[in-house]
Amino acid sequence: MVLYNAQGSFLVGPQLPLATKKGRQIPNEQRSALAPQRMEAARNIVLSGHSSATARSLSSAYNCMGMVFAARRTWVEPQSLRMILDDDGYRRVGDKSELQQGDIVVYQDGNGEVSHVGIVASINRNVTAGDWDVTILSQWGRDGEYFHRADDVNPLLGSPTEYWTDRI
């Protein structure tokens, strides 16, 4: 039997039972780990190209969505993001001054498609720039988990465009 997920991509790995608060299934797949040498190479490449980045973990078992919404257990494609935000009661944060640690940042590519997601790790007022310095914790695809300035990511991950929170 051929299995494929809601995005039309064939399932290769096993799925975990994972659902939104409203009970809708979140498509996911567990992937084999990458070899330690490959992950070391990833860390070196990422850190050499992104001055604000520091490595937190070098697991390749999950992606950015899996880190934020699946407790680092599995791979969830970004197409599921809107469903999760809706079903789990997230609301959009309109101003950076309202951000708190644990809120969610959403990145989009040039076509407006969700390309990356992370968690706000810290936020500090930048008096000189008249803005806020937001540090994000996010998993970069299969290349490891990093703390980084919100806008200091691989261009393939897009730009930070939205912040969301589930705070009540």
Binding site: V2, S9, F10, V12, L34, R38, A41, N63, S115, L156
Partner: protein
Amino acid sequence: MTWQEALEEIQTHEFDVNLNVVSSYGAFFKAASRQPAVQEMARQLAECSNRREETLGLIYDISNLAIDPRYENPKDTSLAILLWLTSFADPEYSRLAAFYVDQAPQCWYAKKLARSILTPAAVKSSNASFRDSPKGNSTFSSATDSIIAMASGNPKHGISRWKGNTSADSGTYMQTVGAQL
């Protein structure tokens, strides 16, 4: 950039790391289509039938490489790229190439693409991999008859002239093709 340089580049850690920073199947192939090495390979594959044969042989060889069973196939990215390029450059080879890739152990993107080629009816229009060909050609066809002809030794497609640059020789290759089909 020469063919060999492009081929070597898509097998480097740096290329693998850069493409695998994305988190979705569609984004992976979209990113791939923007890589100069991939664009150069697409150009040469479109222009030269020998390149297509070489690529098919390479896919066969890489698919049969032994891997450490504890980890994902380190050739997943390069296999996915080679299969993807083949699917656009030569639909007649693509199903055979997909068959090989589907047998490769512990692949991810490559296996997803292989299965989409082997079961094209299940591929949805939202799948970016077919929109974002470096050639802009989204045509897939099965051409099973041609594959069977190749497997039975019909030199129509010149497969018997294939010369791989890795361990498998063309005799072994042809025998395996026949056995698998």
